[in-house]
């Protein structure tokens, strides 16, 4: 039996003194790929901010049995100030480990690492471009590179599909599948249809959390677990995708 990477033990958390999530328990194991779904305002982002240590816990505990893993984080696109004067290269460099942050210049090894990542992801020619001049896909790619540059063990993505085209969505899909061979992924989305083919298991978050150890959710299961109704009321698309998809 593998040791869990992270254990949420009955946590209650939220903003100020207003609890958004209550009684949330979850065990995340190495190389899991969990889709965190639920309606807007249900607490998906709150959940990952608590895991990242950005929000205080009102009660409960978060354990990291093997110590806090190196974590890469892609925030929601709406959290990014696109008019801020910062370049692609600088954004990606900000994801590097922090031991020498005091030095004004990056070591040549780190510069090389950033350059290599940009070349591999097709951002090389945009290196000195301010982020305000990027397309939605290029922007998400830049922030994904920032999350990945430090080679994390746990990757947390908050709605990476916002403002991107179908082509990038497909690319992201392949990319994440490849990454999942070496790292644990938590992927937040309000849209189960687009993420269910990628993820291995699903956590429904709507004030509380229900974990489904499969990426196949039937209407009955959702009802039994009292999962958010508007999820299954999305229309025929999610069901077609879910039921027709064969996952290993």
């Amino acid at each position: 039996m593998k040791k869990p990477l992270l254990i949420l033990d009955n946590i209650r958390t939220g903003y100020n003194s207003d609890p958004v999530l209550r009684d949330v328990s979850l065990e995340v194991y190495p190389l899991d790929f969990i889709g965190v779904i639920g309606p807007n305002g249900g607490g998906k982002t709150t959940l990952i901010k608590a895991i990242l240590g950005l929000l205080p816990l009102f009660s409960g505990h978060i354990h990291f049995p093997s110590g806090r893993p190196k974590t890469g984080y892609l925030p929601q696109a709406s959290q990014i100030d696109r008019s801020f004067p910062i370049t692609v290269k600088e954004v990606i460099s900000s994801g590097l480990e922090t031991s020498d942050k005091f030095l004004p210049f990056l070591s040549s090894a780190k510069k090389e690492k950033v350059r290599k990542m940009m070349d591999e992801t097709g951002l090389g020619s945009l290196s000195s471009r301010p982020i305000g001049e990027l397309s939605g896909g290029q922007l998400q790619k830049t922030f994904l590179c920032r999350a990945l540059i430090d080679e994390p063990a746990l990757l947390i993505l908050d709605e990476p599909n916002t403002h991107v085209d179908k082509h990038f969505e497909q690319e992201l899909h392949e990319w994440l599948k490849e990454l999942n061979k070496n790292m644990t992924i938590l992927l937040v989305s309000h849209d189960i249809g687009t993420i269910s083919p990628m993820v291995k298991t699903i956590a429904c978050v709507n004030r509380t959390l229900h974990y489904h150890p499969s990426n196949q959710l039937s209407e009955e299961v959702l009802k039994v677990y009292n999962c958010p109704v508007d999820l299954i009321a999305h229309g025929p698309v999610p069901h077609r995708v879910l039921k027709s998809h064969d996952h290993e």
Binding site: Y15, N16, K49, L52, G53, L54, T71, Y73, P75, Q79, I80, D81, S83, F84, P85, I86, T87, E90, V91, S93, S94, G95, E97, T98, K101, F102, L103, P104, S128, P130, G132, E133, R146, D150
Partner: protein, 277 residues
């Protein structure tokens, strides 16, 4: 031309030029941070709240700039603290501190016996009466700020851009934010000497906006803003002397005209490029 430069024989004018140069460089660094983080309104709050300190210092017979510095720093730290809490409306809190500072200043000045002759110089600046001590203070603080911006450039940039991510990466975000608040407050208060409370914010914003017509790279905006600040303020200073108009207002006027002219040229150039390309 030589006639124009005879003014340089006067020490007070040489001092004024030095003050304009130093203020431009200092404001270029701090102003780029302010404009990038979109916290110009916080700068306004710090500026006006510091008037309370000037009034109190007058009343107690102390150095007014010291009073302004204390009030400015307290306001800056207070606003940073409030914005970190998240449950108080930040803009309203700034407005309260802004007007409270002005009110306190007026009350203390009113209560001080006799006439306060220098008060107008704090509201509108008095670059032509800058002394050696003022210059040394300004130069010392500009050097310190330059040092901090050079050594801590990356954490300053990262915490300004995305504080949550910076926190996850283990950068002490709170420390940097508070440090920048203090630097902001002191830079603003020291610049009050040059252009005055009412106009000071413009040297922290107009040269940066002009620079951002050319680049959106934080590190490049700073030297470019310093350059635009220097050309605008030196032109304003000469105009003030020869046209016999108040120096602070003249500097702001030239900074603004410069912005408009540069903007016009850049826009026309881009149109020409588009047509030919």
């Amino acid at each position: 031309m030589s006639e124009l430069l005879t003014i340089l024989d006067y020490q007070f004018f040489r001092h004024a030029l030095a003050a304009a140069l130093l203020t431009s460089v200092l404001a270029a660094m701090v102003g780029t941070y302010i404009v990038s983080r979109k916290i110009v309104f916080i700068g306004g709050g710090i500026t006006h709240a510091s008037f309370g300190g000037i009034g109190l210092a007058y009343y107690m017979g102390l150095n007014p700039i010291m009073g302004a510095a204390v009030f400015g720093i307290m306001t800056a730290l207070g606003i940073e603290w409030i914005s970190g809490k998240g449950n108080i409306r930040e803009d309203s809190a700034i407005a309260i501190l802004w007007s409270l500072g002005m009110a306190l200043g007026i009350i203390f000045v009113f209560m001080t016996p006799g006439y306060a002759p220098n008060l107008m110089s704090f509201l509108f600046g008095s670059i032509l009466s800058v002394g050696k001590t003022d210059l040394y203070t300004l130069a010392g603080f500009s050097l310190l700020t330059l040092f901090i911006f050079t050594v801590f450039f990356r954490p300053i940039l990262y915490t300004a851009f995305d504080p949550e991510f910076a926190k996850i990466k283990g950068i002490p975000v709170g420390t940097y934010r508070y440090m920048m608040s203090v630097i902001m407050a002191l830079a603003i208060v020291l610049s009050i000497r040059t252009v005055g409370i009412i106009l000071v914010l413009s040297i922290f914003t107009i040269p940066q906006i002009t620079a951002m017509l050319f680049t959106r790279n934080f590190a490049l905006i700073i030297p470019l803003a310093a350059l635009w600040g220097i050309t605008g303020s030196v032109a304003g200073l000469f105009a003030a002397y020869y046209l016999n108009i108040p120096s602070g207002a003249s500097i702001i006027f030239f900074l603004t005209i410069q912005l408009m002219v540069v903007k016009l040229i850049v826009t026309l150039q881009r149109q020409v490029q588009r047509r030919s390309g």
